[in-house]
Symmetry: C2
Subunit: 332 residues, 2 copies
């Protein structure tokens, strides 16, 4: 195993978020499940967009947000994901590179436009997402850069990518390349409905190729089809080297062997937009891990990054997370 | 003169703003004049964008922002401006229509993309703008909808559009159509450098076709090439039926015949982003005018709308201006 030049390489959907505020009835009128992500086709994307209010565009993508968070913490990260050669593709590439994340996946020259996610934010700050995958559906094993994966301490995989078979194959190849170089593999379950659609594949990946698993309460209970958080926690403890379970305002629980670490959420004045809370928690946690911190400090870094992101619109950090973390004594 | 079905029709550049924060040295390193707008070509746009930090995209355009403000106040407005058939063109059309502004200019099917403005916001909230006009350069007399203009109480023209000759011709035709229907014509000088580039044309339009002129301090002194605000105010008083002069945190001065009305700025906790302050002031003022309010109330509505816009990132209202204005007793 050679010296690692990167802290984290992330693999996920390359998405531009189109964010608008809405009231609760809008979600039910549109048949959306509050707080979840649904996949939509081009026609649905147009219809929902027409019905939405004025919006703001900002680069997103779950694991891409995590990579941006790691850069904001002062770490070295790179992202692998597919965009088209259109305006949104340029926006995505600009935003992730300009925060210091390496991004060299060649834009697709085929027909589908860059992926976009129509994000509806209700007055309570909760986000409901509608994703048109576009160019991301073309993501496949060819896009994987094995040398890049081999050079990173952690390869972080986005569960959402499991919605397409070629991407699923790319995930297994990535996990294999990471392990062949003695690196760690992390996975986010992303969304309870996504877990429900691909439960067996997720379980196989958790059992065979994942060292660090991130999930929230609904995702982990969906994975094991168990009714309580406690039962699901017991199940995952037996299978993952490290399981990181996030519980919104109740903080997070980290399980590793016989160890259980509970970490409180950071207080925030007002939750403006919950988009990216889990993504940024993962950024803090993984960055702590690559710096050799104990699990509790990793969790505290996660809570700090999540609190910054939910205090404003959008899922990319506006303040320097490195400065915030130093101020709290969580980084030297 | 038939009953008017619209309060205001605005004619201007249809632009998507790409907004990023920067420090003061960034502006000088890039050779930008703080607080002003410069026109850039495609190559410059790419170079500046590459140098900028992570950004947020939001629909903009000076007079388009005003039209959005009028809709937010509860008024009826429409916008005329040219976009391309690309992703930013769709974003622009969506945002302005979804706030309730009529927008029916057909997208251009030629080569140039939708106009974009690279907006750099310094820590003091000041904005410095770099505009690639793109599809807006194709705006011409053909795009003018004379029936629409004839149906609006006020036709509001954006000075920035004067940077291209075909648009200038379209302006004169619009002013003529408005007057032929007994309507009012309003003009924003937009920017002191823009005034400097087209001084004679602006003066001719102010003398012959404009009823209400909007300008800030640097713009009005640039127009008359006078050193002091007071001298410039005297000069414009003799030429415009109503001149509305804005002075940032010092509020505004409204001149009409022998009348002089001074209106204070509304206090704001912190200026987050000054983008759109003048545009939204104009929205409040013009909406008051179409409702038959006196000049002072018009100015107070302007101050209220400007204060809302500078308290957040972006130049489109986030709160309902109608609700805010009712709460202050400025609208019934």
């Amino acid at each position: 195993m050679t010296e690692s030049s990167l802290d984290v390489v992330g693999i996920g959907n390359a998405i531009v978020d189109i964010i608008a505020r809405c009231d609760e009835p809008f979600l039910s009128n549109q048949g959306m499940e509050k707080g979840f992500m649904q996949l939509i086709n081009a026609g649905q994307a147009d219809r929902i967009y027409d019905a939405m209010g004025p919006a703001t565009e900002q680069s997103g993508g779950s694991v891409a947000n995590t990579c941006a968070g790691i850069a904001s913490l002062g770490g070295k990260s790179a992202f692998i994901g597919r965009v088209a050669g259109d305006q949104f593709g340029k926006v995505f590439a600009h935003d992730i590179r300009s925060i210091g994340v390496g991004f060299d996946t060649a834009p697709s020259d085929r027909g589908l436009p860059t992926a976009r996610c129509l994000v509806l934010v209700t007055p309570d700050g909760e986000r409901t997402m509608n994703t048109f995958l576009g160019a991301s559906t073309e993501f496949a094993e060819d896009d994987i850069d094995e040398a890049l994966i081999g050079s990173a301490q952690v390869t972080y995989l986005e569960g959402y990518l499991f919605d397409k078979d070629p991407a699923k194959a790319a995930f297994h190849a990535s996990a294999k390349a990471a392990r062949a170089n003695g690196r760690k593999v992390a996975l986010s379950l992303s969304d309870a409905f996504c877990v429900d659609r691909h439960r067996d594949d997720f379980l196989a990946l958790v059992r065979d190729g994942v060292d660090i698993l991130f999930a929230n309460e609904t995702e982990i209970t969906s994975l094991y089809q168990l009714n309580s958080f406690e039962e699901a926690a017991s199940a995952v403890r037996a299978e993952a080297e490290v399981a990181v379970l996030t519980r919104s305002e109740e903080g997070s629980v980290i399980l590793s062997g016989n160890e259980t670490v509970e970490v409180p959420a950071d207080p925030v004045g007002q939750v403006v937009d919950a988009t990216g809370a889990g993504d940024l928690y993962a950024a803090g946690f993984l960055y702590g891990l690559t710096r050799g911190r104990d699990l509790e400090t990793c969790g505290r870094l996660g809570s700090l990054a999540a609190a910054e992101i939910i205090s404003h619109i959008g899922a990319r950090p506006e303040a320097s997370l490195e400065t915030l973390a130093r101020g709290r004594g969580l980084l030297d």
